[in-house]
Subunit: 167 residues, 2 copies
DNA sequence: TAGGTTTGCTTCAAACTTGAACCAAGAGCT
DNA sequence: AGCTCTTGGTTCAAGTTTGAAGCAAACCTA
């Protein structure tokens, strides 16, 4: 089958998206690196844990939630552990399992860094968009994510993982 | 001033965006790595050069166009040069300058890899979006990019760089 | 309950990215 | 010309990411 090339509109959209994505991720990484000494992903890990029940999550769940590979998460958590911001516990129900726990220090760090981070996200993104555009962005993002996950889609509600606290 | 936290809509949009961006970039990187043995950025470099006049561009212009840092570009071009896909020329008007040139082999490689890449972009992104959404995505991306560039904005049409070909 | 497969996570080497430091060449004074 | 400041590009060390192994604990299925 002959290639369906991108239309001019699609090309423009694609290039604009790539550029914006680079610029945005850079801006956010830079701000967090400055202000909290860690890249965006690491902050996301802390932030995700801070909202989880008992501030703890299994590695795999964390990786899945953040859409990153497990080796990447392992590396990140190892560093955050060295910094004293997270700890690891083993799961007593599944001895293979490893659970990341946000320490008090980690929680404090999230709370300290959050305002600056939010301010950056706001000024770089939401201050530039109309409320309709915010909705559109969500729609578009979901469409993309849904499409890319349906292949890998472990959407099996039964066979659920162990309880979050796992304790 | 007290932090203006994200509204629930903004939070949803932000998270959806982060997830989609990760998934999309991963999918594209994976495909290109498989099919062309290089990450997305490297392909973008080749692709950008392929459309430039005389297939050549100054390093700084290339870095600016792709919104990446110069060290990153230097590293990438060094590798692509080792692979024989690009070459470097020095600019005779500005002896500091370095110009990346797409080789014939590089051009062939872009042409070989393009269909698969486009197919991936299409199936991951554009097949999922309505024409209106494509327009919205472009708008949103431009709003973000414009906002983030106005600080750094070298939007000075005079004081232009040397001619693209620089020869 | 033994054997084979899958799952959860880590480890490893190689590739990539980052920010600071560096160097040489242009530009703007005086 | 000489001096300084900026610009274009690379280099370097430290940090991060990747994909392929590796390993042990579950999960079959017989």
């Amino acid at each position: 089958m002959t290639t369906r090339w991108l239309t001019p509109e699609e090309q423009r959209a694609w290039r604009a998206y790539i550029a914006a994505a680079h610029l945005l991720e850079d801006a956010i990484d830079r701000q967090l690196q400055q202000d909290a000494g860690m890249p965006h992903l690491y902050y996301s890990i802390l932030s995700t844990l801070s909202e989880a029940p008992e501030r703890r999550l299994r590695m795999t769940d964390l990786a899945e939630g953040l859409k990153i590979t497990r080796p990447r998460l392992t590396y990140a958590v190892t560093r955050l552990e060295k910094d004293g911001l997270v700890g690891r516990e083993s799961c007593r129900w599944d001895k293979r399992g490893s659970i990341a726990v946000l320490t008090d220090e980690g929680m404090a760090e999230v709370e300290r860094a959050a305002p600056g981070h939010v301010e950056t996200v706001r000024s770089a993104l939401f201050d530039r968009l109309s409320p309709e555009q915010v909705g559109q962005l969500e729609e578009i993002s979901r469409a993309i994510a849904d499409g890319l996950q349906e292949d890998t889609g472990d959407e099996v509600p039964w066979r659920r993982r162990s309880s979050p606290s796992c304790s």
